[in-house]
């Protein structure tokens, strides 16, 4: 029951992130300086007179004097508009409000940017890093591992020796070192590509070892020898017998690596070594929490942390379903 819920949440998250433009009320860059560090806007159904409204609404936020926070101006209510287009904008939104009111469902950050919108747009970077990075690392590792395992001898020895060297350095350190080789500030366009490339280059070793072991055992199957007996080439055997046989294990490994790589991007961005302002990423959003004042008073800025945990839980659930037992360290 819980596992199904987790998977559903995971799927919903991916969809929301994919269609961030639709689900997010605002742009990730839009600043509302006068509403800096605003808490989540409360949504009401019952107004101050006690009447029930069918459409939920919000009140306008008014900054309290001397930076003491915000209070609602109950003189006028602004109903939520579903499936509307912004006035002057051309994109369809799931929900929004018009006029001087704002819908900050998850509050705002230091620059008055809507956290929910940044969460969804930032999710693109973080989730895509995880998915692409894991995919590249596993693909690279599979290619190397399959060739090493199948053709053996010096190819195998050298590939595995190289893999062991890579695995002798704790992966976060390796990631940081490779990142350190690149210039400290890279513009947001190329940083994503570079980040994914780095993740792929750093993460190939463990999948390679796994695939190599698999290929070694699959190679001995009778049907492979039989195919050799009627003249099949090595390439054919890999393509039609060995890799499809290894497929299920490789796929479950992906489920293990996607959240790890997503976390790698988040960690790098948190340190200021990944995606940098103003582009959103779950990592650099969490970096705001390092200031004591923010940590203490702005609990809504923990939103990325919650989303990260949900992603982790969801992918671990997928992994547990198809590969029960202790994972490879």
């Amino acid at each position: 029951m819980l596992s199904k819920a987790l998977l559903a949440v995971l799927a919903a998250l991916h969809i929301a992130v994919l269609f961030a433009g639709f689900f997010a009320p605002y742009d990730s860059h839009q600043q509302y300086r006068e509403f800096s560090y605003a808490p989540p806007t409360p949504v009401h159904w019952i107004d101050s007179g006690g009447r029930l409204h069918l459409r939920p609404f919000v009140y306008r936020l008014v900054p309290k004097p001397e930076f003491a926070g915000y209070e609602e101006d109950r003189t006028r209510l602004f109903p939520l508009c579903f499936f509307c287009r912004t006035s002057g904008g051309d994109s369809l939104h799931l929900f929004e409000v018009s006029g001087p009111a704002h819908l900050f469902l998850a509050g705002t950050d230091a620059y008055g940017r809507d956290v929910l919108s940044r969460l969804l747009f930032g999710g693109r970077i973080s989730l895509a890093s995880g998915l692409l990075g894991a995919f590249i690392a596993v693909a690279l590792g599979t290619a190397i591992g399959a060739i090493a395992g199948y053709y053996g001898k010096w190819l195998d020895e050298s590939a595995m020796a190289l893999a062991e060297i890579f695995l002798s350095v704790p992966w976060l350190y390796l990631l940081l070192v490779v990142r350190a080789l690149l210039p400290p500030h890279i513009e947001s366009g190329s940083i994503f590509v570079l980040l994914v490339a780095v993740l792929g280059v750093v993460g190939w070793a463990r999948p390679a070892r796994l695939v190599r072991g698999l290929v070694l055992s699959l190679k001995r199957r009778v049907y492979v020898t039989a195919a050799r007996g009627f003249g099949a080439s090595g390439f054919y055997l890999l393509r039609r017998h060995i890799l499809p046989g290894a497929g299920p294990v490789i796929a479950t490994q992906l489920a293990w690596y996607v959240p790890q790589f997503m976390l790698a991007e988040v960690t790098l961005s948190f340190f200021g070594l990944g995606v940098s302002e103003p582009a959103p990423s779950w990592g650099n959003m969490l970096a705001a929490l390092q200031r004591a004042y923010v940590l203490q008073s702005c609990w809504w800025l923990f939103a990325p942390a919650i989303v990260i945990v949900l992603v982790f839980a969801g992918y671990r659930q997928i992994f547990a379903r198809y590969a029960p037992g202790a994972p490879e360290l």
């Binding site: 062991e164 002798s168 704790p170 070594l273 969490l286 923990f302 942390a305 945990v309």
Partner: protein, 318 residues
């Protein structure tokens, strides 16, 4: 004996490989870092030239590598540009703090994992077992970063323990007293321990379960051996096998597992040094930290092999 010898040689070969990789990285660093050094008005060009030639950076690659290795062996690990100090003493100082933090956390995590894991394997249907399983699943889903931030929040809200640094005195590395140090240690240690716990718990439970389900344990049960004796004298030694390798690996990770926690809690260890060094382009320090972490990991792996050798007669026979 040859088994151990082979393992040792292999670890050494890997160490050489890692050192070469690090050296290569130093060499590949874009822009000569010594140019940045030249920009610092406190360092004279003569010093820069001297350091340059001392590290043999104007000679062919194999010679450079060899002179770098020799200087490492001498205890000279390079120069920190950001701190304007030789790197080695800086790193050793921070390494002590890292070991303190991760050592305590690892010990705590192991004790908890063993206690909870063994108990829940012995009584798989009790509420303790269910609790342990829930705890494991929950902690598995929470990455170290989130854990650290959450505990930091708790620290700031409740004021139970200080939230940053290793001491309340001005110099982070000179604690006022042991008590002060301990108070600062509390939260990061808890954070790291909770982060390490779930994987350990998973492995303890899984190997205990395998041991308890094995045919010879079932046979022993059929003789009517008391459950406690069964658990400790029969199942545990078998379950210990994979756990011993895991323990060796834990030792290997002592230098590296605390990186994120250190950064969040501003604990003055190797991890936080690494991060600031990257931001400062302090390249010697970056490579040195990585090398130190790798050395520990390799040592840990070898330790795991050694322990396995001592414990498992099957390995001794091969």
């Amino acid at each position: 004996m040859p088994f151990l010898l082979r393992r040792l040689l292999r670890s050494l070969a890997l160490l050489i490989g890692v050192s070469f990789l690090s050296f290569l990285l130093l060499d590949l660093a874009p822009g000569d870092y010594f140019d940045t050094m030249l920009l610092n008005p406190q360092i004279s060009p003569a010093t820069v030239a001297a350091i340059r030639s001392q590290y043999g950076l104007n000679r062919p690659l194999p010679q450079e590598y060899w002179s770098w290795i020799r200087s490492i062996g001498r205890g000279d690990w390079g120069y920190s540009l950001a701190y304007n100090l030789p790197a080695a003493p800086l790193i050793w100082q921070r390494a002590r703090y890292t070991l303190l933090l991760s050592g305590t956390a690892t010990a705590l995590a192991w004790i908890a994992a063993l206690a909870l894991g063994i108990w829940s394997s012995a009584r798989p249907h009790s509420w303790i077992a269910a609790l342990v399983r829930t705890l494991e699943a929950l902690l598995m889903a929470i990455p170290e970063l989130v854990l650290a931030l959450s505990l930091l929040l708790i620290a700031v809200w409740s004021g139970i323990a200080p939230a940053a640094g290793a001491s309340s005195s001005i110099s982070a590395l000179q604690p006022r007293s042991l008590l002060d140090l301990a108070r600062h240690l509390l939260l990061p240690c808890l954070s790291l321990a909770l982060g390490l716990l779930p994987l350990l718990l998973l492995h303890v439970r899984s190997s205990m379960r395998q041991a308890l389900d094995s045919p010879f344990v079932n046979a022993a049960r059929a003789y009517g051996i008391r459950p406690a004796r069964l658990l400790f004298r029969h199942a545990l030694p078998v379950a210990a096998n994979p756990l011993i390798s895991l323990f060796g690996l834990s030792i290997g990770l002592l230098m590296s597992s605390s990186l994120v926690t250190e950064t969040v809690f501003s604990w003055p260890g190797i991890g936080s040094l690494m991060v600031t060094a990257i931001l400062d382009r302090d390249f010697f320090v970056v490579v040195d930290c990585t090398l130190l972490a790798a050395i520990f990991l390799l040592a840990g792996n070898f330790l795991a092999d050694l322990l396995l050798f001592l414990q498992d007669p099957r390995v001794r026979a091969s």
